[in-house]
């Protein structure tokens, strides 16, 4: 479909790029910071061209020091700036974990609300691209466990565009997990639409027999699962969470009260993962509606494997379909 004045067909990475460009234009306090974000445009080219157009003082190439990136972003936010920092890959966020958890997350509360920290931490995350170790992880639960942070992950280009705008406008620190294996997936982006709330889930496929809940890279998989199940006469509903913290339990509950079965899918290890939280709360909320225990499909309690094994580790079509069958068998 051809682009119109307000609608563009964009890859997810390009949608974030346009979103950042819009934010830089709209607010002189917005800054982009990170390793290689300038001339190179980031290793995934998400910040491509931004330094050229906005200069080195707005789009800042940083030393290779993740704690330094987040720690100085905190200082810039204290001075009134709205930094958007890029952590190059998921597994590299850990040197900055201390600054994020002990400082970024807590300073608003410690100051009794006097200090706001509108910092966005962008993290390309997840597997499926054949990378070496520390380049394929899904650490969202480690951040969701920390109060003071908000955690979001878009699954498509349109959400990526709008959720980034909303994350930058938020006065809270937002960890923005970008599904790197979906960076090249294209979708229609209406840049003049009025977006829904940042932390509201979306039903992306209506169904009656079972609810599949996912976010980020697993939403597309769940839509494929629902399409495959439909061929077997099963009518699955797919809910895209979009936000991991806060988590929209009301939307999941509404879906489960309709379908009475729930399977949660994420790439992160199942053990202590976001699926565990969803299962526990939905069990509390929907105990008398459920026809089957809430099942989870995700990674194993093992280091992310070498690339030649990642298809075994990651939830795929068959593993999710297997869980769907088990839930329907109760």
């Amino acid at each position: 479909m051809a682009d119109t004045a307000s609608t563009k067909n964009l890859a997810l990475a390009k949608a974030i790029n346009e979103s950042l460009r819009h934010a830089l234009e709209a607010d002189p306090k917005v800054l982009i910071m990170g390793e290689d974000v300038g001339k190179l445009g980031g290793v995934f080219r998400v910040t491509d061209g931004l330094q050229k157009d906005f200069g080195e003082s707005r789009v800042i190439d940083t030393p290779l020091a993740e704690s330094g990136i987040v720690g100085t972003a905190i200082g810039l936010a204290l001075r009134g700036y709205r930094p958007v920092v890029e952590i190059q890959f998921d597994g590299f966020v850990f040197p900055a974990y201390d600054q994020i958890v002990t400082q970024l997350a807590k300073m608003h509360a410690r100051s009794l609300g006097k200090v706001k920290l509108p910092v966005v931490v962008r993290i390309p995350y997840g597997g499926g691209i054949g990378a070496v170790e520390h380049h394929s992880e899904s650490p969202e639960a480690l951040f969701a466990h920390v109060s003071g942070l908000k955690i979001v992950s878009p699954s498509n280009a349109s959400d990526a565009y709008w959720m980034m705008q909303q994350a930058i406008q938020s006065d809270d620190p937002v960890i923005f997990f970008e599904p790197k294996r979906r960076y090249w997936d294209k979708a229609e982006v209406n840049t003049e639409a009025i977006p829904g709330p940042l932390h509201k889930a979306k039903v992306v496929r209506e169904g009656t027999d079972l609810t599949l809940v996912a976010y980020g890279p697993m939403v597309k998989l769940c839509q494929e699962v629902a399409a495959a199940a439909a061929e077997e006469g099963k009518n699955l509903e797919v809910v895209d969470l979009r936000s991991v913290s806060p988590l929209d339990f009301d939307s999941i509950q509404a879906s489960v009260e309709k379908t009475r079965r729930l399977v949660v899918v994420h790439e992160a290890p199942v053990f202590f993962g976001s699926g565990a939280e969803i299962a526990a709360r939905i069990t509390e909320r929907c105990f008398y509606h459920l026809e089957a225990p809430v099942l989870r499909v995700g990674g194993y309690h093992a280091p992310y494997p070498p690339a030649r094994l990642e298809e075994e580790y990651l939830p795929g079509l068959d593993r999710v379909l297997d869980a769907v069958d088990r839930a329907l068998a109760y």
Partner: protein
């Protein structure tokens, strides 16, 4: 007599210097001992002014200091020490859960704190009570977190004095980022970050040096080397004098006598002026001594000798300025008597304020977790409220625990 020095003090300085120590002694002693004579000092422990070529560059930054200014610095140090002693006593009396005493570090903090301008921004660690005093933060506000009624206690933007930071060294990066913002804004204010000798080992401090140098940020790193990181001496942190670290990052480092308030004032003014002039970061190492424990939970008798403390007591920052004031006829007995009365009044005010501090409202748990709100916090606050309300209901219906127990 004014605050001028005489050459007569030079031999005294060199007597303890590297040049005066034999090779054998140096092999036995540590880097910190051998490097101590590199101090910038303007007042000797005996209260006499020092003037030499090395100090001249810094001395000019205090050339305009009047006798009244000196009395002001003395007053600041005395009142800060009094406040600190009161807080220590309050901890012993069970009014505070913990206290981190600054005893011995008054000159480093008052000298550097008084060097800052109102529009400068200060990032402290958790022992900067004297700097807070200089910034106009009411000292009673410092006690809330130690009493356990809050995790901060003051508006950081009220006096451009950030909240205390417990995680060692984290604030050096916040200071650097803030300074990067100051530079972006085209402002001529400066930022000063406080940390200790132990923090110098932290990666965040190294990263803050890197970032500040790369972006030429107007930040002064003020390291109070008080010789001990809880039980670990400085030799467990470094093989080179700490101020020399700056060289590897491409900015100047200077070691100042941290027990000499005049030298601390001068060197910090110099460093802040560099920042304001766009000359970038500076590392100041204030060579001082923590006379008390790390915190009230610590027991320094287990790891350091009495003689060491006694040697440092001879270099007491307050005593040395008093000697100088008295020798210079800048004061009379009335001054000291009035200050003593003011000091007692401060102690009383602090004591009464702490005891009067109310416990926070129980719903404070849920306040300010997020600026824009969070559904889970709202849900848990409602659950908490319902749980609390359930006691009122039980009480009204005669099922309160007290009633049931009878």
């Amino acid at each position: 007599m004014t605050v001028e020095s005489t050459a007569a003090h030079k031999p005294r300085r060199s007597a303890g210097s590297k040049a005066g120590a034999s090779g054998t002694e140096r092999a036995r002693t540590t880097a910190r001992k051998s490097a101590e004579p590199e101090l910038v000092q303007l007042l000797t422990p005996e209260g006499k002014r020092v003037k030499n070529a090395k100090n001249a560059e810094y001395a000019k930054y205090v050339s305009g200091v009047t006798p009244e200014d000196l009395r002001g610095l003395y007053r600041d140090m005395v009142l800060t020490r009094r406040f600190d002693a009161e807080a220590t006593a309050l901890q012993r009396q069970g009014e505070l859960g913990l206290w981190a005493s600054l005893l011995g570090q008054e000159a480093a903090q008052i000298g550097s704190g008084r060097a800052t301008r109102e529009d400068d921004y200060v990032f402290p660690t958790y022992r900067e009570h004297g700097v807070a005093w200089c910034r106009g933060v009411d000292p009673t506000n410092l006690l809330g977190m130690f009493r356990g009624v809050n995790n901060g206690g003051w508006d950081p933007n009220g006096n451009n004095f950030h909240l205390y930071t417990i995680v060692i060294g984290s604030q050096t990066l916040h200071a650097t980022g803030y300074a990067m913002g100051v530079a972006k804004d085209g402002a001529d204010s400066a930022v000063i970050a406080y940390f200790g000798d132990g923090a110098s080992s932290q990666g965040d401090v190294a990263e803050s040096f890197t970032f500040s140098a790369v972006y030429n940020a107007p930040v002064v790193f003020f390291c109070q080397n008080n010789q001990w990181a809880i039980s670990e001496p400085t030799e467990k942190q470094t093989r080179v004098p700490l101020y020399q670290r700056a060289q590897g990052y491409g900015f100047p480092g200077v070691r100042v006598d941290g027990n000499d308030v005049l030298a601390c004032l001068a060197v910090t003014r110099w460093a802040l002026e560099r920042a304001r002039n766009g000359e970038g970061p500076t590392l100041v190492e204030a060579y001082t001594y923590r006379m008390g424990a790390h915190t009230t939970s610590d027991d320094p008798t287990k790891y350091r000798a009495d003689e060491e403390r006694e040697a440092w007591e001879a270099k007491d920052p307050i005593l040395r300025l008093r000697r100088h004031l008295e020798a210079s006829n800048h004061t009379d007995e009335g001054f000291f008597a009035e200050l003593e009365a003011e000091s007692e009044a401060l102690g009383r005010r602090v004591r009464e304020a702490v005891r009067a501090m109310p416990d926070p409202d129980r719903f404070a748990i849920f306040e300010n977790v997020y600026a824009d709100g969070h559904a889970l916090v709202d849900e848990e606050r409602a659950q908490f409220a319902a749980y609390q309300a359930s006691f009122a209901t039980e009480s009204e219906s005669g099922f309160a625990a007290g009633t049931g127990g009878n």
